[in-house]
C-alpha cells in the first residue's frame, strides 16, 4: 500500500476510532483511491450555502434511491451526528417527502433526487424552483455535484458488495446525540 494511502487511512482511524470499510475497498487501486477521496472532500468539506448536515442529507436520500447499503448506513450515521438528530437519517432513507425537514430542504432534495434518477429532464424549471428557495448558483452546483458523486459511489459500493462497519449502525442514536 502506498505511503500516502496508508497515512490517510491511519488519520481516519485515529479520528473515527475505526477504519470505514470504503477506505479498504478502494485501496487496491491507488490512483482511483486518491481521486475518489479528493473529489469527496472537495464536495463534502466545502464552505458554502449548504451546511454539512444538508450535504449528508443529499447523500442519504439519493443513496437510498440507489439501494446502496454502505452509503445509507455510513452516511446515515454521519448525518445523525452532524444534524444532532437521531431520527432524520432513517426518515430520509425511507421517504424524504415525509421527513421532518424544512421546505427549503425539501426543495433541495427534490432537485437532488431528479439528478439521481432522471438527470436528463433537469432544466430551467428546476433552477427557478431552487432560486425561489434562496439557493445560489453555487449551491445548485453543490447539490447536483454531490448527487452525481454518490451516483458513482453507490454504484461502486453496490457492485463490490461493500459492507458498512458495525459501528455505523448505532452511531449518533444515543441520548448524547440530541445534546
Amino acid at each position: 500500500m502506498p505511503d500516502d494511502i496508508r497515512t490517510r487511512i491511519e488519520q481516519v482511524q485515529a479520528k473515527a476510532g475505526f477504519i470505514p470499510n470504503v477506505f479498504l475497498a478502494l485501496a487496491h487501486r491507488p490512483d482511483e483511491f486518491r481521486a475518489f477521496f479528493a473529489y469527496h472532500d472537495a464536495l463534502m468539506d466545502r464552505a458554502g450555502g449548504l451546511t454539512k448536515a444538508e450535504r449528508e442529507m443529499i447523500v442519504v436520500a439519493t443513496s437510498s434511491a440507489n439501494q446502496c447499503h454502505y452509503c445509507v448506513i455510513a452516511h446515515g450515521a454521519i448525518l445523525r451526528v452532524r444534524a444532532k438528530n437521531p431520527y432524520i437519517a432513517d426518515q430520509l432513507a425511507i421517504n424524504y417527502r415525509k421527513s421532518d425537514i424544512t421546505p427549503r430542504q425539501k426543495a433541495m432534495l427534490d432537485f437532488a433526487m431528479k439528478v439521481a434518477l432522471e438527470p436528463y429532464v433537469v432544466g430551467e424549471t428546476e433552477f427557478e424552483t431552487l432560486k425561489d428557495h434562496g439557493f445560489s448558483q453555487d449551491d445548485m452546483w453543490d447539490i447536483a455535484a454531490i448527487a452525481a458523486f454518490f451516483a458513482m459511489s453507490n454504484r461502486l459500493a453496490n457492485v463490490s458488495d461493500m459492507r458498512p462497519n458495525d459501528e455505523f449502525y448505532s452511531l449518533g442514536r444515543g441520548s448524547s446525540a440530541k445534546g
Copy 2:
C-alpha cells in the same frame, strides 16, 4: 485560473486542436476539476484486459441511457477514432443490443448497463456471466468503475447543459477513419 489547470487545458488543445468544453465547464471549481480528470485518466488510460476502444464503448452506451448530450457526442467521436470504425458509436448510442460487436463485448455492455441503470441488483449471477466470457476480476472492476464514473459525469453534464464542440460531431466519420 490556477496554473496547473491552465497547463492541462493547453496540453489538450495542442493535442486535439480545440478545447473540449468539459475542461472549461469544470474549471470554475479547481479541486473538483483536478479530481475529475485524475479519476477519468486512471480509468480510461489504464492498461488491462479492456482495449481503449472498449472503454469508450462503455461510455457511449451508458451515456446514451442517461441521455447525456455531451458525453455521447464527444466520446462517440473518440470511439470512432479508437475503433477505426465510423458506424459503431451511433449503433451503440441507439441500441447496443443490435450493434456490430462481439458476444464478449455484448456481455461487457450488458453488465455496464446494469451498473448504470439498476446497480442494486448486480451480484454473483452477473459476475459468473462475465467470467464465462473471459473477463478477469480486474476487468470487472474496470467495467463497473467506468460505468459508475460516467454515471457521475452524465449527471454533471446534463445539469450544467454542457454542449459538445462542433468538431466532435464529424470526427472519425471520414474515409480515413476506416484506413
Copy 3:
C-alpha cells in the same frame, strides 16, 4: 372510543410501554380498526413454517419498497427484537438482496417483493422456486398474505402521514439486543 378498542389499546400500552401510533390513527373508524388488527394478528401471530422474525422480514422489505415511514421504523424495531439482531432491519430496508440472510430467506423475500410490486406476474415459476427451498403451500400463502396485508397497511400509513413513535427508532439496537 368503544370499550373493546380502548381495552385493546390499553393492553398494548401495558405490554410495550407506549401506544404505537397506528392504534390511534385507526381508532376513528372502529369497524376498520377491528378488522385491521384481527387480520394483522391472524397473519403475524400464526404458527407455521415461518418464524415470527421471518414474518417481520417480509414486512420490512416490502414496506421499504412502498416507502412507508411508519411500517419500516415500527416493524424494523420489532424485527430487531425478534431476530435478536441490531443490523438486519436496516439491511433489509435498504437492499434485501445484499442482506445477511439465508438463501431460503432470500427466496422468501424475492417472492414477497414480487407480490408487492408486480403481483400480476406471479405464477407456477415462482411457486416452483419456493418449493425448491422447502416452503409448503401454507407457507406460500403466509408470505403472499403478509405482503398483501402490508400493501394495504403501507398505503393507509402513507396517505394518513402516520408517524412512528420515537421509541421505535432505537428499540433493539442496544447491546442487550444481541444477547
Copy 4:
C-alpha cells in the same frame, strides 16, 4: 368449515344465486376470512359522501391497474348493476381517464390510482385537489382505504389465481340493466 363462515356463504348464495369464488378461496383460513369480509363490508357498505357505485368505480379502476382478473370481472359486474350502466365498468377497466364520468369522479379516481400505484407521493397537493371537488376528510379516507384494501385483495387474488364465476361476465349488461 366453521358455522359462521358456512352461514355467511349461504346468505350470499341466497342473495346472488351463486357463490362468488372469493368466498370459497378464503374459507381455508377462517380468521383471515372473517377479517377480510368484515373489512370489506366496513368500507363498501358504509354510508357517506361516496355512492355505492362510486366505491365500485374505485375497485374496478385500481384492480385493473393491478391486472386482477377476479376483481375486475366480479366488481365490474357489481358496478354495472349499481350504476345501472352497462358500459362504465369496461371503460374504467381500460382507461379511466377516457371514461364517461364526472370531473368529480375523475378527481376521485386520479387520487385512488395514486394510492394504488405510488402511495409514497400522496400529500397536501392531492388533498387540496380533492377538497376543490367537494370531498370531505371522511370521503378522502374512504377513497384511500378502498384503494388500499383492494391493493391487498388484488394481490391475494392474483397469487391464488382466483377465477371469477361465469355469471359475473354478463351480469348487468342486458337491456334491463339500463331500466
Copy 5:
C-alpha cells in the same frame, strides 16, 4: 367524402349492421384511411399459421397494455365472435398470463407484448421460444406486424378519443355465442 371511402363504409355497415366509429374517425384523411385499412386487412384477413381468433387475441392483449378504449372494446367483440367464447376477451384485456389459453397462445402473446412494450430487446432468444412452440418465420412476422400495427392504431385512437359503438360492448356475449 371520396366515393371509394363511402363505398367501403357502406359495405361495412351492410355487413355489421352499424358503422364502427373508426371508419368515421379516419375519413377526414382519405389517403391515410385507405392505407390504414389496406394495412389492417393485409394483416388480419391473411391466411397463415394463426387463426383469425388468434390475430384478434394479439389485438386485445396489446391494446389493453396501451389502454386503448376503442380497440379493446371493438376487437374484444370481434374476438368473442371469432373464438365463440364469451369470456376470453375480458380475460386477455385484464391479464393475458392468467387467461384460458393454450401454452402456444401464451408464447404468442408473450412475444406480442414484448413487441408492444419493449421492442428494442426482441432478438434470437424470443425467436427460439416461438420456434419451440411451432411457429414459422411467417407466423412470427404476423405476430410482430399485428402488434406493431395496433401500436399505431392504439395511439391514433387514444389521441383522437375514439369511442367504440355501444353495439360492441354486448356483441358475442350471449348464449348463442357459445353455440
Copy 6:
C-alpha cells in the same frame, strides 16, 4: 417481386443513389409494402403547418425513444439534409429537451413523445399547450399520426433487425450540408 414494387424501388434508387434497406425488408409482403409506403408518404410528404424537417424531427426523437437502429440512422440523415443542419439529428436522438430547437418545436416534440410513450394520458391539457404554440387541429393530427406511424415502423425494424445502409451515417454531415 410484383412490378409496382420493383418500379417503386427503382425510382428510389434513381433518386437516392442506393436502395434504402427498408424497401427490401418489406418487399416479401407486397400488400403490406404498398400500405406501408402509401401511409408513410401520406404523412411525410403532406403539405401543412409542419415543415418537412419538423416531420423528420418527430421521427428521429420518437425512434430514439424506441431504440430503433434503422429509423434513427436513416431519418437522422434525411433530417440533416432537410434542415441543412449537421448537428440536429444527433442532438434529438440523444435528448430532445437539450437540442437547438425553438420553443414551438420543443412543444411539438413533448407531444410526440407522449404519443410514443404514454398515449393513454393524452387529452385536453396537451391540446391546449399545442394551441398556445400556434398549432392547428390539423397540425396536431399530423404530429400524432407521425409518432403513431413510427411506433409501428420502429417495432417492425427492431423485430426484423433492419440495418441502415452505410450511406446514411455520413449523409448531410459535410460542409455542403450547411450551404
